[in-house]
Subunit: 144 residues, 2 copies
């Protein structure tokens, strides 16, 4: 694990334990990337970051198990590749729920906005909500 700084290595092991995931090389490295970068990442972004040292399929499967255990969640995006972000806020250690994202039309960077809860629309009778995704699009501070 020479690629991880010591601080993150501890955090990474704790998180994998906490979410009931076996501690393997790929998982430690990918989780490290999520912690270091704090924006939504695609499979492609990760592959680049870990310099293709692990198989494509393995990375896809890693994302699946992380999502299944609730460690990451899919962030909706109008590109044609799925984006994922950590479900735990590194600062507060709290689970993040339904926080909105902002995607820049020019640089395509996806930013996490505040974690404050939003007033969501009311649903018709019989409809039950489990999850919400909010994406704003426009120009970020660098591109506007």
């Amino acid at each position: 694990m020479i690629y991880l700084c010591h601080m993150n290595e501890i955090k990474v092991n704790e998180l994998l334990d906490k979410y009931g995931l076996r501690k393997t090389e790929v998982r430690k490295e990918i989780l490290d990337v999520f912690i270091t970068q704090n924006h939504a990442l695609t499979h492609h972004d990760l592959q680049e970051r870990i310099r293709d040292r692990f198989d494509r399929v393995t990375v896809f499967r890693t994302l699946s198990s992380f999502e299944e255990k609730g460690l990451i969640h899919q962030v909706l995006d109008n590109s044609n590749a799925a984006k994922y972000a950590l479900s735990v806020d590194e600062k507060s250690q709290l689970e993040v729920s339904a926080h909105p994202h902002f995607k820049c039309e020019d640089c395509h960077q996806t930013y996490c906005l505040s974690e404050e809860e939003l007033a969501l629309p009311s649903l018709p009778d019989g409809f039950i909500m489990n999850k919400s995704h909010i994406l704003l699009e426009g120009k970020c501070a660098h591109c506007s």
Copy 2:
């Protein structure tokens, strides 16, 4: 155009004119499908609906030009195929902006929720919003 009912044919021609799109067979048929079904559709859904009478590529390109001219817009979705919906409300004839959608986890149907505007999160300095996407996930009345 034997596949269109007369009512829709008039509407379809008007809309294509209004959005500066040439009136071709594929476009009339695809627009008809959007008007008839009133939920978000994938390329695959459309291909099925028009019984493969037009080429895949043509349908993709039709979606692109509709989107470019603002007749349809992409509806965010966590499936791995893009979904599109009409940008005009057939009843009010008004452009629809930022209305939320609901996707059922079981039947995967995507519903349009009310068109009422929502309170959106405040943005950091220098950020400018152009579009918003809101997707709620859960169980619909039929599946809950």
